[in-house]
Structures are given as structure tokens and as C-alpha cells.
Amino acid sequence: MITQAMLIEILENICKTIEENMSYLTELDIAIGDGDHGINMNKGFTAVLNKLPSLQDKDCGVILKTTAMTLISTVGGASGPLYGTAFLKASSVVNGKMEINNTDLLEMFNSAIQGIVSRGHANKGDKTMLDALYPAYDALKEAIDNNNTLKEALQAATEAALGGVEYTKTIKAIRGRASYLGERSIGHQDPGATSSYLMLNAAYNTINKRG
């Protein structure tokens, strides 16, 4: 169970993680894109961080929807609409709820992925954030189906996402600016998959720290 207070803590941690990894994400993007991923993501999540204090007593749906709208209006590039849509779809699953149970969590994750797929017209194996998120969802589902704790489930999802990031090094980009490189994109890890992993890892660390 994730309470709305825990959700705010997770989001705070995500914002800090993105800030710490801003240069790293930009380096990855310089190699195969246009070098703005870290800068744009940090801009968006800094804006989210500034909004969180005003959301302390709000339900999970409002918290996630505010996050979504903030990302949409601040990030720009492809990541803004994609992560914004993901948070927006996730928010609709928990409208009015003060707590997120494991079933909600799976449903949120699934809706977020579907949102990214329909907005970005991308598929598994295109070298995008989906290559971290699909395996993370599968691992999360398996762990929850097997009655593992939330902490264990998030750990499994995070590890699977990292595996997905590694996988993106082996494939050719099909979507986004990296696709112009064709074969030359092989060997580089996808910045979007990396930021997805970092967000999941921040969520896991938050829950893990609480014990």
C-alpha cells in the first residue's frame, strides 16, 4: 500500500534523482540525440518539486495529475508529452483515492505504458523508454501475483528496468531523433529508457528506506 504521503515522498525522490543525473542523461543524449534530455527533464521535475508542497492534503489522483500537467507544460521535446501522458493515465486510475493498493499500482503502470504507446506510436524494441518499462511491468506483475511485498515487487521492477536499459545498447533506434543514426545508434544506451529506470529506482529507494 502506498499512501498519498508516501506518493509525495516518492515524487520528491524522483525529482532529486533527475537533478542528480541531469548531466548523465544529457551525455547519453548527446551521443545519439540532440543533447537536451537531462536539461529538459530537470526543468520539468524542478517545477514538479515546487508544486509538491501545495499537494500535501490532496488525493493520489490530483497529485499525479498535477505532476502530469506540470511536465506537459515545462519539459518540451518528446519526453514532455510522453511522461506527461504516462502520469496523466496513471492518475485516472486513482482518482479520489488516498491510498494506492497493489492492484491499483499494476493498473496505473499498465495505463501509463498504454499512454506512451498511443502518444508516441512506439513499440517494444524501438529503443525507447518502453524497453525499460515493459520488462519492469512484467516483473512487477509477477512479484505481485506471487504475493511478494511492495518493496520486493518494486525491487524486481527496478532490476528489470535496468536490464531493459542494458538491452537498449544492443538494438537500433526506430523512433525519435536517434533513429536518424540507424546502425550507428547500436552500442549506446537509450536516454529515455535510462530516465525511466532512474524514476523506478527512486520509487524503490523511497519504499526501501521506510523499511
Partner: protein, 331 residues
């Protein structure tokens, strides 16, 4: 990084302020937004053209706001698509009953943000259509990739679709003309140096002193290949071969030529390039109806150029010839 700026995070804001102060008779800024619109909104209900994209391509796109071209331009951060709320504000501001045509360059970020803005506008009952420009022959087109990039040919779409809108044509007609320009224009570029996004602080790629990058995009995306620099004649001949292989232009047919500087190349060299372009077209018996040489779709301080060739018919010729009066393009 050596740039004449104050704060990397303020470059877009301060540039827009500077543009408005330089051209108050042409443009004004929508307060609180990175949007430039015409200083005087047309009084008759014409189709409004809105374009935009990342900054760093000046005079694209704000420099083309004015009579006969754009009604509004949305500026994103450097090389980053503007967000949907900014595009939506531009659409609301310029719509005066004739509907709005969005001219979007084919980049994933631009497509997604303009698409979301269209959805917002449609919810408000504003008629919006989009045309996606993808004129760069350097990038192979296939269903498995994002497809060709939109580069300098976009300026010709602004000019010709803008003229059609100014003549009072309907949204459907203006869109069809914009699509016709896109279908008949091909571009390809090369560069001698990389460029540096102010907020990133370092160049997007490295090139040795004697190297050039061929077929690159306007954001410093790597091109098709890297080679030792050769003569203007050889470079132009390679780019023209790629362009003319991609579009059928017969002897006796007419074209417009746009030799576009990427920001760091002197006009002297652009004119040398144009001389070579003209020679190649003359040899093939292709008639040059109009030539445009200058910096229209730049890539910050990058040294290099692109060539765009637009195949013309009577309709496109007439629209190309009609009046355009904007800070960055006058005819």
C-alpha cells in the same frame, strides 16, 4: 563555451524581447508566453498559419511572422520543441474565424507537442489542421523510422502557404498547397563545425580541422557520413546528386533554389555554393525561376549550408511571387 549571452536559461526569453524591440511594426509577444504574433492581426477572416519549434534556428520561425507568411510563431527552448500550452496560446491568439494551419517539422518532439495542442484547440472548437514538413533527403524514409527530417524547405512552405492564406483561400486549400510544396521540395546539408546548445555548454559532436559532416540535421544530429573536406564544386555536386535522385525534374521544368546558411558560414561562401548549384541545374536544362540565398533556417553558430530545390508549377510560381513582408523574408 564562448557565447554572447547573459544566462543560458534566459537565452530564448531575452532573444524574443530583442526581436520585438527590433521589429515592433511586425511582431508582438503574447504576454507570459514564448509566442510571437503579428503586431496587427489581419482584419479579415483568413486562415492563420502557426509554426514553431526549438529555438536556435533564427530567423526561423519568429522572423517569418508578418504579411504573406506566418501569423504566429512558437519558440521552444534551444533545439527543444515548445510545449502544447504554448502552441495552444498561439492558436487561440491568431484564430480569427478562418481556422489555423500548423506547420510542423518532422521531429518526434514537435509532432507530439503540436498534436496535443491540436487536441486542446479542437476541444475549444477551433478548426485546426497540420502539415508536417519532411524535406531532408539525407535521412532514409521508411515505415520503420521516424522518417525524414524537416529542414530549410519549411521556409518555402511558410512563404507559399502563407501567400495562399493571405489571398483568402480556405483552410483545406491552404493545407493542400502546403502539402504540395512539401511534396515537391528536397533538401540536404553539410557542416564544417558543430554547434553548442547554451544550456549544454559543449558541442554536440566533434569534427577534425579537415573534416566535414555530410547530411546532418539542423540540431547537429550526426549526418550520413564524415569525409575530408573537398572543393565547393565537389560538395555541391554530391548534395545535388542526392537531391535530384530523389525527385524527378525534367529538362525544361522550373525550380526555386534556396541556398541556406546554417549560421556560421559567410555569404561569400553561400554565393559560391549557389554558383555551383546554378551550373549543375543549367547543365541539366532545368530552369531556375527564383533563387534565395541567405541564413533562413540556421543551427546556432554552425558553419555549413543546405540546398533546397523546389519543383514549381504555375500555381506555386504565382504564390512564390506574391508579396511577403516579414522581418526575415521580404519579397
Amino acid at each position: 563555451m564562448k557565447k554572447i549571452i547573459n544566462d543560458p536559461n534566459q537565452v530564448v526569453n531575452e532573444m524574443l524581447e530583442g526581436v520585438v524591440k527590433a521589429h515592433p511594426e511586425y511582431v508582438k509577444r503574447l504576454e507570459g508566453f514564448n509566442v510571437l504574433v503579428r503586431a496587427n492581426k489581419p482584419s479579415f477572416p483568413k486562415v492563420a498559419l502557426v509554426s514553431g519549434g526549438g529555438s536556435g534556428h533564427e530567423p526561423s520561425h519568429g522572423g517569418f511572422v508578418g504579411e504573406g507568411m506566418l501569423d504566429g510563431a512558437v519558440a521552444g527552448e534551444v533545439f527543444t520543441s515548445p510545449t502544447p500550452d504554448q502552441v495552444f496560446e498561439a492558436v487561440k491568439a491568431v484564430d480569427n474565424g478562418g481556422g489555423v494551419l500548423l506547420v510542423v517539422k518532422n521531429y518526434t518532439g514537435d509532432i507530439l507537442n503540436f498534436e496535443m495542442a491540436s487536441e486542446l484547440a479542437a476541444e475549444e472548437g477551433i478548426k485546426v489542421e497540420s502539415v508536417v514538413v519532411n524535406d531532408d533527403v539525407a535521412v532514409e524514409n521508411s515505415t520503420w523510422t521516424t522518417g525524414r527530417r524537416g529542414v530549410a524547405g519549411t521556409v518555402l512552405v511558410h512563404k507559399i502557404a502563407g501567400a495562399a492564406a493571405e489571398k483568402g483561400k480556405s483552410l483545406e486549400e491552404v493545407k493542400a498547397i502546403a502539402e504540395k510544396v512539401n511534396a515537391n521540395v528536397r533538401s540536404m546539408g553539410m557542416s564544417l563545425t558543430p554547434c553548442t546548445v547554451p544550456a549544454a555548454g559543449k558541442p554536440g559532436f566533434q569534427l577534425a580541422d579537415d573534416e566535414m559532416e555530410v547530411g546532418l540535421g539542423i540540431h547537429g544530429e550526426p549526418g550520413t557520413h564524415r569525409a575530408k573536406i573537398t572543393s565547393a564544386k565537389e560538395i555541391v555536386s554530391h548534395l545535388m546528386e542526392k537531391i535530384l535522385k530523389d525527385i524527378d525534374i525534367n529538362s525544361g521544368e522550373e525550380v526555386a533554389v534556396l541556398v541556406n546558411g546554417l549560421g556560421g558560414t559567410p555569404l561569400m561562401e553561400l554565393y559560391i555554393v549557389n554558383n555551383e548549384v546554378a551550373e549543375i541545374l543549367n547543365e541539366k536544362g532545368i530552369k531556375i525561376y527564383k533563387t534565395i540565398v541567405g541564413n533562413y533556417m540556421t543551427s546556432l553558430e554552425m558553419a555549413g549550408f543546405s540546398i533546397s530545390i523546389l519543383k514549381l508549377d504555375e500555381e506555386l510560381k504565382e504564390l512564390l511571387d506574391s508579396k511577403a513582408d516579414t522581418p526575415g523574408f521580404k519579397l
